[in-house]
């Protein structure tokens, strides 16, 4: 992945960090039952990643 390519995906990288920060807070404040909910926003990142790889493969 080139630098410009990486730069284009900044919002998704930060979005992932935002989710992980919330997961971290859940872990340290004993809110473990809320951690599985993280799969909801993470599924968006998975969908984004799949689209990225499919487009790259079709080039």
């Amino acid at each position: 992945m080139q630098r410009s390519d990486l730069e284009f995906h900044i919002p998704v990288i930060i979005f992932f960090v935002m989710i992980m920060v919330h997961v971290y807070f859940c872990a340290i404040y004993d809110l473990v039952d809320l951690i599985p909910l993280a799969i909801l926003p993470l599924s968006l990142i998975i969908l984004y990643g799949l689209t990225y790889y499919m487009r790259r493969a079709s080039k």
Partner: protein, 199 residues
């Protein structure tokens, strides 16, 4: 550091890369129009929400809430809009048609809600904000998610329409202000209906 300082620091830390990304992709003027749309609608709607007593931000003054939500909604809205534009393959130099803008806005609103289904229960459990009336989703009322959808929908739809118009920057800023007023009115009306039917 206090909890408020940590929250504000995180909100700024998450929003700055989004602004940078928009600046690199759209340039300064178009980014300012986007920020005007996001901050305008978010601040108006959140201030109405806080002053109506629907929820309170723990330990924060009205000024801090304004700063917090103004910056915070950049981090909430931008990834949802970016993912929608990318999935719909609309990141090209062509102008986005109004019907495409509508699809982008609906998808962005849905993506925002999907994120909030995780984020809001965590924030409520941590006591970042408190709902006056508890709801069915881990204490979060359904009206919150309707609000999230409509806020992001209004921002993205308004911005995309204005951005793709052949007009000068001052005219785009004026159109954005009209869009902010209409978007805020839409969210406010929906919240009133939600309060009336009790969700």
């Amino acid at each position: 550091m206090t909890d408020t300082t940590i929250t504000l620091a995180l909100v700024i830390l998450f929003s700055v890369p989004m602004i940078y990304h928009s600046y690199r992709l759209r340039g300064a003027k178009r980014t300012l129009i986007l920020l005007l749309n996001i901050v305008g609608i978010a601040v108006i709607v959140e201030l109405i929400g806080v002053t109506s007593g629907a929820y309170t931000y723990t330990g924060q003054t009205l000024v801090l809430v304004t700063i917090f939500v103004g910056i915070g909604w950049i981090a909430n809205t931008y990834p949802a809009m970016h993912i929608s534009l990318y999935l719909l393959n609309l990141y090209n130099n062509k102008r986005i048609k109004p019907q495409e803008a509508l699809v982008v806005a609906i998808l962005s609103g849905c993506f925002g809600v999907i994120y909030d289904l995780f984020m809001d229960p965590v924030a409520v459990a941590l006591g970042t904000w408190v709902w006056a009336k508890e709801g069915p989703w881990y204490g979060v009322p359904l009206s919150n998610f309707i609000g999230w959808f409509l806020i992001i929908f209004s921002i993205v739809f308004g911005y995309t329409l204005v951005d793709n118009k052949n007009a000068s920057i001052p005219k785009k800023a004026l159109l954005s202000i009209i869009s902010i007023v209409l978007g805020s009115a839409l969210v406010y009306s929906a919240m009133k209906i939600c309060a009336y039917i009790g969700i």
